[in-house]
Protein backbone atom coordinates (compact mmCIF):
# COMPACT_ATOMS: atom_id res chain seq x y z
CA UNK A 1 0.00 0.00 0.00
CA UNK A 2 1.49 3.36 -1.01
CA UNK A 3 1.86 5.84 1.83
CA UNK A 4 1.39 9.53 1.17
CA UNK A 5 3.59 11.48 3.55
CA UNK A 6 3.01 15.01 4.77
CA UNK A 7 5.81 16.65 6.72
CA UNK A 8 4.33 19.55 8.64
CA UNK A 9 7.73 21.23 9.03
CA UNK A 10 8.85 20.86 5.40
CA UNK A 11 5.57 21.24 3.52
CA UNK A 12 3.59 23.52 5.80
CA UNK A 13 5.42 25.45 8.52
CA UNK A 14 8.10 25.03 11.16
CA UNK A 15 6.01 27.20 13.48
CA UNK A 16 2.37 26.27 12.92
CA UNK A 17 0.10 28.48 14.94
CA UNK A 18 -3.53 29.14 15.67
CA UNK A 19 -6.81 27.40 15.04
CA UNK A 20 -8.77 29.19 12.36
CA UNK A 21 -7.88 30.49 8.93
CA UNK A 22 -8.43 33.98 10.32
CA UNK A 23 -5.59 33.36 12.81
CA UNK A 24 -3.02 33.16 10.08
CA UNK A 25 -1.66 31.24 7.11
CA UNK A 26 -0.29 28.36 9.21
CA UNK A 27 -3.31 27.56 11.32
CA UNK A 28 -4.93 24.20 12.01
CA UNK A 29 -7.86 24.92 9.72
CA UNK A 30 -5.55 25.77 6.82
CA UNK A 31 -3.54 22.62 7.40
CA UNK A 32 -6.62 20.44 7.54
CA UNK A 33 -8.57 21.95 4.67
CA UNK A 34 -5.70 22.57 2.26
CA UNK A 35 -3.38 19.66 3.03
CA UNK A 36 -4.63 16.89 5.25
CA UNK A 37 -8.24 16.29 4.21
CA UNK A 38 -7.50 16.38 0.46
CA UNK A 39 -4.67 13.91 1.03
CA UNK A 40 -6.94 11.58 3.02
CA UNK A 41 -9.58 11.69 0.28
CA UNK A 42 -7.09 10.88 -2.45
CA UNK A 43 -4.91 8.28 -0.77
CA UNK A 44 -5.41 4.99 1.04
CA UNK A 45 -2.90 5.80 3.75
CA UNK A 46 -1.53 9.17 4.83
CA UNK A 47 1.38 9.59 7.21
CA UNK A 48 1.73 12.94 8.95
CA UNK A 49 5.20 13.63 10.25
CA UNK A 50 5.03 16.05 13.17
CA UNK A 51 8.79 16.33 13.67
CA UNK A 52 10.88 19.37 12.85
CA UNK A 53 8.58 22.04 14.20
CA UNK A 54 9.20 24.11 17.28
CA UNK A 55 6.03 22.71 18.82
CA UNK A 56 2.28 22.63 18.58
CA UNK A 57 -0.50 24.31 20.44
CA UNK A 58 -3.55 22.32 21.45
CA UNK A 59 -5.72 24.58 19.28
CA UNK A 60 -3.72 23.78 16.16
CA UNK A 61 -3.73 20.02 16.80
CA UNK A 62 -7.39 19.87 17.76
CA UNK A 63 -8.50 21.81 14.71
CA UNK A 64 -6.23 19.86 12.36
CA UNK A 65 -7.19 16.38 13.55
CA UNK A 66 -10.29 16.68 15.71
CA UNK A 67 -11.70 18.80 12.91
CA UNK A 68 -11.54 15.82 10.55
CA UNK A 69 -14.33 14.33 12.66
CA UNK A 70 -16.18 17.52 13.66
CA UNK A 71 -16.07 19.35 10.34
CA UNK A 72 -15.20 16.83 7.64
CA UNK A 73 -17.38 14.02 9.00
CA UNK A 74 -14.72 11.34 9.17
CA UNK A 75 -14.91 8.66 11.84
CA UNK A 76 -12.29 7.46 14.30
CA UNK A 77 -12.28 3.97 12.83
CA UNK A 78 -11.78 5.38 9.35
CA UNK A 79 -8.92 7.53 10.56
CA UNK A 80 -7.31 4.61 12.39
CA UNK A 81 -7.14 2.85 9.01
CA UNK A 82 -6.08 5.78 6.85
CA UNK A 83 -4.02 8.05 9.10
CA UNK A 84 -0.64 7.40 10.59
CA UNK A 85 1.09 9.86 12.90
CA UNK A 86 4.85 9.91 13.01
CA UNK A 87 6.47 11.84 15.83
CA UNK A 88 9.56 11.45 17.96
CA UNK A 89 7.63 13.41 20.57
CA UNK A 90 5.08 10.76 21.56
CA UNK A 91 3.12 13.31 23.57
CA UNK A 92 1.89 15.01 20.40
CA UNK A 93 0.88 11.73 18.78
CA UNK A 94 -1.14 10.83 21.89
CA UNK A 95 -2.82 14.23 21.90
CA UNK A 96 -3.82 13.85 18.25
CA UNK A 97 -5.69 10.61 18.89
CA UNK A 98 -7.19 12.05 22.07
CA UNK A 99 -8.62 14.96 20.09
CA UNK A 100 -10.00 12.58 17.45
CA UNK A 101 -11.60 10.43 20.17
CA UNK A 102 -13.05 13.46 21.97
CA UNK A 103 -14.48 14.80 18.71
CA UNK A 104 -16.06 11.42 18.02
CA UNK A 105 -17.58 11.30 21.55
CA UNK A 106 -18.96 14.82 21.19
CA UNK A 107 -20.44 13.93 17.79
CA UNK A 108 -22.07 10.80 19.24
CA UNK A 109 -23.61 12.81 22.10
CA UNK A 110 -25.14 15.30 19.67
CA UNK A 111 -26.97 12.54 17.76
Amino acid sequence: MAIYTISVAKQFSETPAGRYRSDGPYSGEVFREDFLYPALRSNELVEVNLDGTLGYGSSFLEESFGGLVRVNGMSMSELRKKLKIKSSRKFYEERVWRYVADAESAKAKRK
Binding site: T15, A17, G18, R19, Y20, S22, D23, G24, S27, L54, G55, Y56, G57, S58, S59, F60, E62, R89, F91, R95
Partner: protein, 165 residues
Protein backbone atom coordinates in the same frame (compact mmCIF):
# COMPACT_ATOMS: atom_id res chain seq x y z
CA UNK B 1 53.61 -24.92 65.78
CA UNK B 2 51.78 -25.78 62.62
CA UNK B 3 48.80 -27.93 63.34
CA UNK B 4 48.00 -30.06 60.35
CA UNK B 5 45.16 -32.41 59.98
CA UNK B 6 47.48 -35.39 59.95
CA UNK B 7 49.30 -34.36 63.08
CA UNK B 8 46.00 -33.89 64.84
CA UNK B 9 44.86 -37.21 63.42
CA UNK B 10 41.50 -35.86 62.49
CA UNK B 11 39.22 -37.50 59.92
CA UNK B 12 37.88 -35.43 57.05
CA UNK B 13 34.43 -35.21 58.66
CA UNK B 14 35.92 -34.15 61.97
CA UNK B 15 37.86 -31.30 60.41
CA UNK B 16 34.89 -28.95 60.07
CA UNK B 17 33.36 -29.71 63.41
CA UNK B 18 36.58 -29.26 65.22
CA UNK B 19 37.69 -25.97 63.56
CA UNK B 20 39.45 -24.03 66.18
CA UNK B 21 37.83 -21.00 67.83
CA UNK B 22 40.15 -18.61 66.01
CA UNK B 23 38.87 -19.91 62.67
CA UNK B 24 35.28 -19.35 63.72
CA UNK B 25 36.10 -15.88 65.00
CA UNK B 26 37.70 -14.98 61.68
CA UNK B 27 34.77 -16.38 59.68
CA UNK B 28 32.21 -14.43 61.71
CA UNK B 29 34.34 -11.31 61.47
CA UNK B 30 34.50 -11.51 57.69
CA UNK B 31 30.77 -12.16 57.55
CA UNK B 32 29.99 -9.08 59.63
CA UNK B 33 32.37 -6.97 57.53
CA UNK B 34 30.75 -8.16 54.28
CA UNK B 35 27.27 -7.45 55.65
CA UNK B 36 28.38 -4.02 56.82
CA UNK B 37 29.84 -3.25 53.41
CA UNK B 38 26.60 -4.33 51.72
CA UNK B 39 24.43 -2.16 53.98
CA UNK B 40 26.74 0.86 53.54
CA UNK B 41 26.77 0.37 49.78
CA UNK B 42 22.97 0.17 49.61
CA UNK B 43 22.62 3.31 51.73
CA UNK B 44 25.11 5.18 49.56
CA UNK B 45 23.22 4.13 46.41
CA UNK B 46 19.95 5.28 47.95
CA UNK B 47 21.52 8.65 48.83
CA UNK B 48 22.78 9.08 45.26
CA UNK B 49 19.39 8.16 43.80
CA UNK B 50 17.72 10.63 46.14
CA UNK B 51 20.13 13.38 45.04
CA UNK B 52 19.48 12.61 41.37
CA UNK B 53 15.72 12.79 41.77
CA UNK B 54 16.02 15.97 43.83
CA UNK B 55 17.99 17.50 40.97
CA UNK B 56 15.35 16.35 38.45
CA UNK B 57 12.47 17.81 40.44
CA UNK B 58 14.36 21.08 40.90
CA UNK B 59 15.11 21.17 37.15
CA UNK B 60 11.40 20.70 36.46
CA UNK B 61 10.63 23.68 38.73
CA UNK B 62 13.21 25.84 36.95
CA UNK B 63 11.86 24.88 33.51
CA UNK B 64 8.29 25.54 34.61
CA UNK B 65 9.18 28.96 36.02
CA UNK B 66 10.86 29.82 32.72
CA UNK B 67 7.76 28.72 30.84
CA UNK B 68 5.50 30.87 33.00
CA UNK B 69 7.78 33.87 32.44
CA UNK B 70 7.65 33.36 28.66
CA UNK B 71 3.88 33.03 28.77
CA UNK B 72 3.56 36.18 30.90
CA UNK B 73 5.62 38.10 28.34
CA UNK B 74 3.52 36.68 25.51
CA UNK B 75 0.33 37.88 27.19
CA UNK B 76 1.58 41.32 28.10
CA UNK B 77 3.88 42.28 25.22
CA UNK B 78 2.48 44.95 22.90
CA UNK B 79 5.36 44.98 20.42
CA UNK B 80 4.51 42.43 17.71
CA UNK B 81 8.06 41.21 17.17
CA UNK B 82 8.67 40.71 20.89
CA UNK B 83 5.32 39.00 21.28
CA UNK B 84 6.26 36.60 18.51
CA UNK B 85 9.58 35.87 20.24
CA UNK B 86 7.73 35.18 23.47
CA UNK B 87 5.33 32.86 21.64
CA UNK B 88 8.22 30.84 20.22
CA UNK B 89 9.85 30.76 23.65
CA UNK B 90 6.62 29.35 25.10
CA UNK B 91 6.75 26.48 22.60
CA UNK B 92 10.39 25.81 23.35
CA UNK B 93 9.81 25.87 27.10
CA UNK B 94 6.72 23.66 26.89
CA UNK B 95 8.88 21.03 25.21
CA UNK B 96 11.55 21.44 27.87
CA UNK B 97 8.99 20.87 30.64
CA UNK B 98 7.55 17.93 28.70
CA UNK B 99 10.97 16.26 28.55
CA UNK B 100 11.46 16.73 32.29
CA UNK B 101 8.03 15.25 32.99
CA UNK B 102 8.73 12.24 30.76
CA UNK B 103 12.00 11.73 32.62
CA UNK B 104 10.16 11.59 35.94
CA UNK B 105 7.19 9.54 34.74
CA UNK B 106 8.83 6.18 35.45
CA UNK B 107 9.36 7.07 39.10
CA UNK B 108 6.38 9.31 39.84
CA UNK B 109 3.77 7.53 37.72
CA UNK B 110 1.12 8.57 35.21
CA UNK B 111 -0.28 11.29 37.48
CA UNK B 112 2.54 13.69 36.57
CA UNK B 113 1.79 13.21 32.87
CA UNK B 114 -1.87 14.01 33.44
CA UNK B 115 -0.87 17.19 35.26
CA UNK B 116 1.34 18.18 32.35
CA UNK B 117 -1.44 17.46 29.84
CA UNK B 118 -3.69 19.78 31.79
CA UNK B 119 -1.02 22.51 31.79
CA UNK B 120 -0.52 22.05 28.04
CA UNK B 121 -4.25 22.37 27.34
CA UNK B 122 -4.77 25.40 29.55
CA UNK B 123 -1.69 27.15 28.22
CA UNK B 124 -1.94 26.48 24.47
CA UNK B 125 -5.71 26.24 24.17
CA UNK B 126 -8.23 29.03 24.16
CA UNK B 127 -7.01 32.13 22.38
CA UNK B 128 -3.32 31.22 22.41
CA UNK B 129 -2.00 32.10 18.94
CA UNK B 130 -5.39 33.49 18.00
CA UNK B 131 -5.70 36.76 16.13
CA UNK B 132 -8.60 37.67 18.39
CA UNK B 133 -6.41 37.69 21.49
CA UNK B 134 -5.74 41.13 22.90
CA UNK B 135 -2.48 42.01 24.59
CA UNK B 136 -2.89 42.45 28.29
CA UNK B 137 -5.72 39.93 28.48
CA UNK B 138 -4.29 38.08 31.47
CA UNK B 139 -7.37 36.10 32.45
CA UNK B 140 -5.78 32.85 31.46
CA UNK B 141 -2.55 33.49 33.31
CA UNK B 142 -4.05 32.59 36.67
CA UNK B 143 -5.35 29.30 35.29
CA UNK B 144 -1.96 28.49 33.80
CA UNK B 145 -0.20 29.26 37.09
CA UNK B 146 -2.64 26.99 38.93
CA UNK B 147 -2.02 24.17 36.45
CA UNK B 148 1.76 24.67 36.77
CA UNK B 149 1.50 24.60 40.57
CA UNK B 150 -0.47 21.34 40.38
CA UNK B 151 2.28 19.82 38.24
CA UNK B 152 5.05 20.88 40.62
CA UNK B 153 3.06 19.85 43.70
CA UNK B 154 2.67 16.38 42.19
CA UNK B 155 6.45 16.04 41.78
CA UNK B 156 7.26 17.51 45.20
CA UNK B 157 4.70 15.36 47.01
CA UNK B 158 6.08 12.24 45.40
CA UNK B 159 9.65 13.21 46.43
CA UNK B 160 8.63 14.02 50.00
CA UNK B 161 6.74 10.75 50.42
CA UNK B 162 9.53 8.71 48.91
CA UNK B 163 12.59 10.25 50.54
CA UNK B 164 11.55 12.36 53.47
CA UNK B 165 8.64 10.49 55.07
Amino acid sequence: MLLTRNRLRLSESDWGRKMDPIGWFLAIGWGVTAAGWLVTSLQANKRETRKEYRAEVTALEVSTDRLLEAYRRYLSETDEAKCEQARLQVHSDVNRVRRRVEGLEGAVGGEICRKFENLFEVLTGGDFESKSRRSGSGNNYARVVTAAEDLLECAETWFRNKYQA
